[in-house]
């Protein structure tokens, strides 16, 4: 530890930290542009100058290590002068276009120019002009505004793992870009917008939309992948205008995947905004009362079941379960993709190591998942672990995938899994040598005829290779969407019998629904489910309700209502509660608190944090014959990352991404 005095405040900091970090520990804010906590230190903006006793010149605090007994001054005349000078130079080539700049109001350069800059410009010469670059359909560039902090270059190289951005030419002619024009091939490109301290990289869909101070900000949770990314929904006049990540070191650090960030324009398109009832083979607009009456008539005397979709919140799921129970049914299903998940124990279907736990792992085996597309943020965490720790990564799945880190391709199908169970595979040695090995099993690998065997086999590999320890749980299932774990917690696994007479689809595809069955579709986007439905009940999307979401770790997080649902659409649990009244089986809760109390009763885990680092003491595996894995190859489960769920399929931004990145998939 080193004792450092910052402006007379004595702090003790670990050896090797930078002066900037010591100043922060003392509660002093140091202005900066190029320095970013999660990126390597560049030291090229010079904004973080401080004075150190006995040093002849001001020093760049971000790149200067502390020494014991150091006396730092962050607000001396020398420092103020230095920062004013740096600011003047940064502004020499920066255009004075704040009034038309999308960063205006949340711009580091603007704020710091106010705080540390001079009051007038002395520069009378020409400013340099830089041609704008094309970085893809999500990031808009106005390169005149670039101050060359190189945060974007470091982010792309270090975090996203796609070294495609660079600084070409030199001096006055230096430019940030890809040199050879191309769209950035990363699913994390939106983060470039966040880390850019000026308006050089801004959001293309959000261009000229609004000003930050006009937005109402609501903390919520992203559900478009299973990461459970913490988000802030910015809305104005009942419309979601953008979504930004919030920092949560246990989940997403401060990153966010592009689908979650940019697909929200799908919330405004192709919405179900009123009830519909099918009469004489055609759907007709109806009132809520008519819809409920039609349901009461339609399900009368029929055997009923319920299917929960991939974007279902826990409140809606528990209300649906209670409604079914009240109707005397125990036919519940949520595995619409056919994944053979065994929900008898929670650690059979969650990401037990935890996302932050990845950083403790020292060997990783990936089975039938492309984490880069399943969850770009978790993939970035794996990359961080590989980059800093150099851990071995074994991969079973399609050959030649670019996961952004080095992986040892073991094979593409079940044969490797069988060999690993036998203990004779070369990767067994790697796993046995590791102290904290983990495996990631993709949900897609379970959605095949031998899915139960794959699950059992993966568990057996974990058990045999030291992944299941009393203080370490290395078995992980990676889900695809934020609404897939909560229904599992609530027992939506009893299945729909083939002779079912009526099915309540809660945002689910009509998979396995027999012809002639009476179908109720409740959801926010009508796709196949709504087309098949006899009654359509318009539900709320994830930004439009106070709801509980469970991510792939099993972490329970609360999303909050940012805007009201469109038209006559309502929060899902309220719809179910209202329907129960008409069906004569009134559910016993009338408020959100009531549903949540019921939720805690249904599964106590849903009342708590849901996830805490845990070990595994019971190594008994899930049902399924571990030896029954076929040799079939594991196919990439997410063929089209950009259009994987009903919201992103309705999004124009995502459609453009698909056209750009998947030209063969475009219609």
């Amino acid at each position: 530890m080193a004792k450092v005095t910052v402006d007379g405040i004595e702090v003790e900091v670990p050896n090797g930290v930078s002066v900037l970090q010591a100043c922060e520990a003392a509660g002093k804010e140091i202005p900066r542009f190029c320095y970013h906590e999660r990126l390597s230190v560049a030291g090229n903006c010079r904004m973080c100058l401080v004075e150190v006793e006995k040093a002849p010149k001001p020093i760049a605090s971000c790149a200067y290590p502390v020494a014991d007994g150091m006396k730092v001054f962050t607000d001396s005349p020398m420092v103020r002068n230095g920062r004013r000078g740096v600011m003047e130079f940064l502004l020499i080539n920066h255009p004075l276009d704040c009034p038309i700049c999308d960063q205006g109001g949340e711009c580091d350069l603007q704020d710091q120019a106010m705080a540390f800059g001079g009051d007038a410009s002395r520069y009378r010469e020409e400013k340099r002009a830089v041609k704008d670059k094309y970085l893809g359909p999500l990031v808009k560039t106005i390169m005149n505004r670039c101050i060359q902090c190189t945060r974007c270059v470091r982010f792309a190289t270090e975090v996203a793992g796609v070294p495609e951005l660079g600084a070409t030419n030199r001096g006055e002619n230096m430019e940030i870009g890809t040199y050879v024009e191309k769209a950035l091939t990363t699913e994390l490109s939106g983060n470039l917008i966040d880390i850019c301290p000026v308006g050089a990289l801004t959001s293309r869909p959000y261009a000229y939309v609004t000003r930050p101070w006009e937005l109402r900000k609501t903390d919520s949770v992203d559900v478009l992948d299973a990461t459970g990314t913490n988000i802030r929904v910015d809305a104005r006049a009942g419309e979601v205008l953008r979504i930004l990540p919030r920092t949560n070191d246990d989940v997403n650090e401060e990153w966010m995947a592009d689908r979650g960030r940019f697909a929200f324009d799908g919330l405004k398109r192709r919405r179900l905004d009123r009830p519909w009832v099918r009469k004489n083979g055609k759907l007709h607009p109806a009132s809520w009362a008519e819809a409920f009456t039609a349901i009461a008539a339609g399900i009368k005397g029929r055997k009923i079941g319920a299917v929960a979709g991939e974007l279902v919140d826990a409140e809606a799921a528990v209300a649906l379960r209670d409604l079914m129970a009240a109707l005397g049914s125990n036919h519940l299903e949520c595995r619409t993709d056919g994944a053979a998940i065994d929900a008898s124990r929670r650690d059979f279907y969650t990401f037990n190591t935890g996302i932050a736990g990845i950083e403790e792992a020292d060997a990783l085996l990936i089975i039938g998942s492309n984490p880069r597309l399943d969850s770009p943020v978790i993939n970035a965490r794996i990359r961080k672990r590989v980059a800093t720790g150099g851990i071995p990564v074994g991969f079973i799945g399609p050959r030649g995938l670019n996961l952004t880190y080095a992986q040892d391709w073991l094979g593409e199908g079940g044969a490797v899994l069988n060999a690993l169970i036998g203990g004779q595979h070369r990767f067994n040695e790697v796993l046995r040598a590791a102290k904290r090995p983990m495996l990631i099993l993709g949900r897609g690998a379970l959605a095949r005829p031998d899915g139960a065997s794959v699950l059992a086999a993966a568990w057996q590999v974990a058990a045999q290779n030291g992944m299941l320890q009393p203080d370490w749980h290395g078995f992980n299932l990676l889900h695809h969407f934020g609404g897939q774990v909560a229904p599992l917690d609530l027992g939506f696994t009893t299945g729909i019998p083939a002779d079912i007479g009526a099915v309540w689809l809660l945002g689910a595809e009509p998979v396995g629904v027999p012809d002639g069955a009476f179908v109720i579709f409740q959801g926010h986007h009508g796709e196949a489910g709504a087309a098949r439905a006899d009654v359509i009940l318009p539900g709320a999307a994830y930004t439009e309700k106070d709801a509980t979401w469970v991510n792939t770790e099993g972490r329970v997080q609360r999303g909050r209502l940012a805007v009201y649902p469109p038209g006559e659409a309502r929060e899902d649990w309220k719809i179910l509660r209202a329907a129960s009244e008409v069906l004569g089986v009134r559910l016993p809760y009338d408020s959100l608190a009531g549903v949540r109390a019921r939720l805690a009763e249904a599964n106590p885990v849903l009342a708590g944090p849901g996830f805490e680092p845990h070990g595994c003491t019971d190594t008994a595996g899930p049902a399924g014959d571990a030896g029954g894995v076929s040799e079939a190859a594991f196919l990439p489960p997410v063929a089209n990352y950009w259009q994987a769920d009903p919201i992103s399929r309705a999004s124009a931004t995502m459609a453009e991404c698909a056209r750009t990145y998947l030209p063969q998939a475009a219609e």
Binding site: K131, G166, T168, N169, R170, Y179, V180, E181
Partner: protein, 211 residues
């Protein structure tokens, strides 16, 4: 193929580039100089290899995008890292140049000794408009370069890889005319100076015992 460069004037880029046998041999020698895992250090010498190969094959010493990609692949680097290096250094021509590259040193010692005259001679004789330009016949490209490290024999005119020293207007004219005729005068001092010894012969150590 039309260049997809985001900066500069557009000009055709070759559609492919692969190292020829001579380059491959040179690369093997160069890469061996660096310890295993540090092959990326060879990026600058390899860019020279590309530039020389282009000179051999097309008569114009420049580095096309595909050439940089080939270097990146050979050294296991991301292509953008090679682009960064190649565009940083003036020694790599990012667009096609003339058959002869006249590089006039304009740094202080050369300038004091008359590099302006050398440059004027280049403009007059080689018919080049100015720095960074190529003559209409495609024979000469003229660049101003920073110190070539030959200040003792200033001013220096570097033609491709060869130094011509102690230049003045007349000798530059003669040199360019010779190049145009297809001759290649011997590099070095044009006034007959022995390496960088004083003009006209040694002035000190004239009475070395035993000589």
């Amino acid at each position: 193929m039309v260049a997809e460069m985001s900066t500069g004037v557009e000009f055709p880029q070759p559609e492919s580039f692969s190292f020829d046998e001579e380059s491959m041999k040179a690369i093997d020698t160069i890469v061996k100089r660096y310890p295993p895992g540090k092959q990326a250090s060879a990026v600058i010498p390899l860019l020279y290899v590309v530039q020389r190969q282009m000179k051999r094959q097309t008569g114009s010493a420049w580095v096309p995008n595909k050439g940089m990609d080939a270097v990146a692949e050979r050294l296991g680097m991301a292509p953008i890292r090679v682009y960064e290096v190649a565009t940083f250094y003036f020694m790599f021509n990012m667009k096609p140049i003339g058959k002869f590259h006249l590089q006039v040193c304009g740094t202080t010692p050369c300038w004091l000794r008359g590099s302006d005259e050398v440059a004027r001679a280049c403009r007059d004789t080689a018919k080049v408009g100015g720095y960074g330009q190529t003559s209409e016949d495609g024979m000469f490209t003229m660049s101003e370069v920073e110190c070539l490290g030959g200040c003792v024999n200033a001013p220096i005119l570097q033609v491709d890889d060869d130094y011509y020293e102690d230049m003045d207007y007349e000798s530059t004219v003669k040199l360019i005319e010779a190049l145009r005729r297809g001759e290649r005068p011997a590099p070095g001092s044009v006034i007959g100076r022995q390496t960088s010894a004083p003009e006209g012969g040694p002035l000190t150590l004239l009475d070395v015992p035993g000589e």
